[in-house]
Amino acid sequence: MINIRDKGAEVWDTWNRPKRVAFVLISIFVAGLLPFAANWGPTSFLNTPITSFQNVLVYPVGMFILMALGLNIVVGKSGLLDLGYVAFFAIGAYSQAILSTKFGMNTWEVLPIGIAIAMFSGVLLGLPALRLRGDYLAIITLGFGEIVRIIALNSKETGGPNGVAGIPNPPAVFGFKFDLMHPEHYFWLVLGMILLVVWMIRRFTVRRPGRAWEAIRQDEDVAALMGVNTLVYKLWSFVIGAAVGGAAGVLYASKVMVISPDMFKFDVSVLILACVVFGGIGNIWGVILGAGILAYLPDRIRFISDARQLIFGLVLIIMMNMRPDGLLPRKKREKISEKSSK
């Protein structure tokens, strides 16, 4: 199979700095224009039949890209299988719901608090769970996801099965209003956060934490022997992943205004993981592409409404059989060393 990612990297390497900056700026500009794609002739095929395209772009597409990027730090970079990522999303969403309806805080004030709570719960879960390996970690995280949902379902503060209603939208910033009439503003906000996360991951990857994660993913024992404090770095990747999930949750709650426990089921964790693996585990661009496609597809094919999940399942099977490393696999160099380490 052709590795588009490597081809892309080759072209990128031949460019000089102005060329690269121009490319990045143009790409961001084009991405920023996406909300208008549905109304423009040549790209109108993108339009979604039932939910408006601009709303689909925010949730699920934008949110899923954000969460997939967060999960990619955990699963893709340091190789920890997390099956309960939705828990952090739920924690962020419930922080926003409770703090805004009961304490009257606005979204921008809640955002750092929500992220902090998500990070703290990441530490709480990570400290015991990260001592375990592989599939044991997977089942513990899965359990954590369910526990968060069950607590939300059964306690009074979270409104039980009805959830929390009447969550306020974020207040306007620089004249950009965030309400039902302006979904494109939400999209730009999410896009900004995605760019921030991408930038953060890229910085991490080339520095000490990135190298430590890489070492842990390839062989944890060797990494420990080489002096990497594996528990600390695993915890870091877990907590950073949790922070991204929490941020997505805060934004989500203030966008949809009503949340309930059944929005945070195990399926969401599975779907986010599917986004990561489908796109190309460990590779940011692959993850963005995979999450974009998997989040967008069910809404695009709504006309076959009843069978869309069925087709979604089929797509997963066929794609994994055809491209097991995802749409845009990670760098070849990393893959070879991964194989020889076995």
Binding site: L81, D135, F144, A307
Partner: protein, 317 residues
């Protein structure tokens, strides 16, 4: 909190816990057998169970032509009908498990690619299966006919020895015994054990790897089918998403006992069944899952490879 329940219904809770636990154990074999050989989570096993419960419905309603509100039948007719449903469900599940392996795992295994890719293709298979049954049944729960009259052998210390519970317990123990003998005594069992120790070496010793993998999926399917039969006779209904909760419980049981370990699955299932019964009696059924997971975390922290797991601390990642 309601501790008085524990003293007043102790034996009744135990009996129900054992019956439920053995059903978990049978399903968890579908995870543990595959994990032992391939080191992969057989994610689609929960849907194999779901299809098993529907196959029993199909056999009893469409093939044996028992309408839903039928009078319970007796004698040779009853035994025949029950045996046919049991064997039918086991065969359907075994065939489906083999099919799942062919579709979701075989090609990916041949490539020798990452484990997550096969996890996702198994998740895809399981979404496909549960969705097709959801569409087929219009998301409605289905009741199964009551062929077996639920008479009791008698009551001992508050525990009601009902025929279906007793049947499930006795038959599950028999199945476990047979399987244990098969894996530890027979030639094919030796092949399974060899592959679970080292794939490379067993291939060098002339073991047909694909055949062994198919066999383990088939065995997991057989026991999952049996579990589906006992589940339907006791609870008498099923739904397209019945596999999800039971699947997670069974997987937890497998991990609790030490995944990849046959006897571990047995005791893990028992422990989980008892734990669930007591937790829901004391704390209320909504906190059942939370208790189970907390206990699981504690067990894994003290003994990271499960109660009966191998001494080796690390599983292959």
């Amino acid at each position: 909190m309601n501790f008085s329940v524990v003293t007043s219904q102790f034996w009744a809770l135990c009996l129900q816990g054992v019956a439920l636990g053995l059903i978990y154990s049978l399903i968890s074999l579908g995870y543990t057998m595959v994990y032992g050989v391939l080191r992969l989570i057989n994610f689609a096993n929960s849907e194999v169970f779901m299809v098993g419960t529907f196959s029993i419905l199909f056999i009893q309603v469409s093939i044996l032509r028992h309408p839903l509100n039928v009078e319970p039948i007796h004698g040779i007719q009853l035994i025949g009908a029950l045996l046919l449903s049991l064997v039918g469900a086991m065969l359907v599940c075994a065939l489906l498990a083999i099919l799942v392996e062919l579709v979701a795992y075989r090609r990916l295994r041949a490539h020798g690619t990452n484990r997550l890719a096969s996890l996702i293709s198994a998740i895809g298979t399981s979404i496909f299966l549960s969705e097709s049954f959801r569409i087929f049944t219009h998301s409605r729960p289905q009741t199964s006919p009551r062929l077996l009259e639920k008479w009791t052998f008698g009551e001992i210390a508050g525990a009601n020895f009902r025929i279906d519970t007793v049947m499930a317990i006795v038959a599950s123990i028999a199945i476990f015994f047979a399987l244990d003998q098969f894996v530890n005594r027979s030639r094919l069992g030796a092949a399974i054990r060899a592959v679970s120790m080292s794939e490379e070496n067993s291939r060098l010793m002339g073991i047909n790897l694909n055949r062994v993998v198919t066999l383990t999926f088939a065995i997991g399917g057989l026991t999952t089918g049996a579990a589906a039969f006992f589940y339907t006779t006791i609870y008498e209904n099923t739904q397209f998403n019945v596999g999800f909760n039971l699947g997670i419980a069974a997987f937890t049981a497998a991990v609790l006992g030490g995944i990849g370990n046959l006897r571990g699955a047995f005791y893990g299932g028992l422990a989980l069944g008892l734990l669930e019964q007591f937790a829901s009696a004391i704390l209320g059924s909504q906190w059942k899952a939370v208790t189970v997971f907390l206990v699981l975390v504690l067990v894994l922290l003290i003994k990271p490879s499960g109660i009966f797991g191998e001494a080796v601390q690390q599983t292959r990642t």
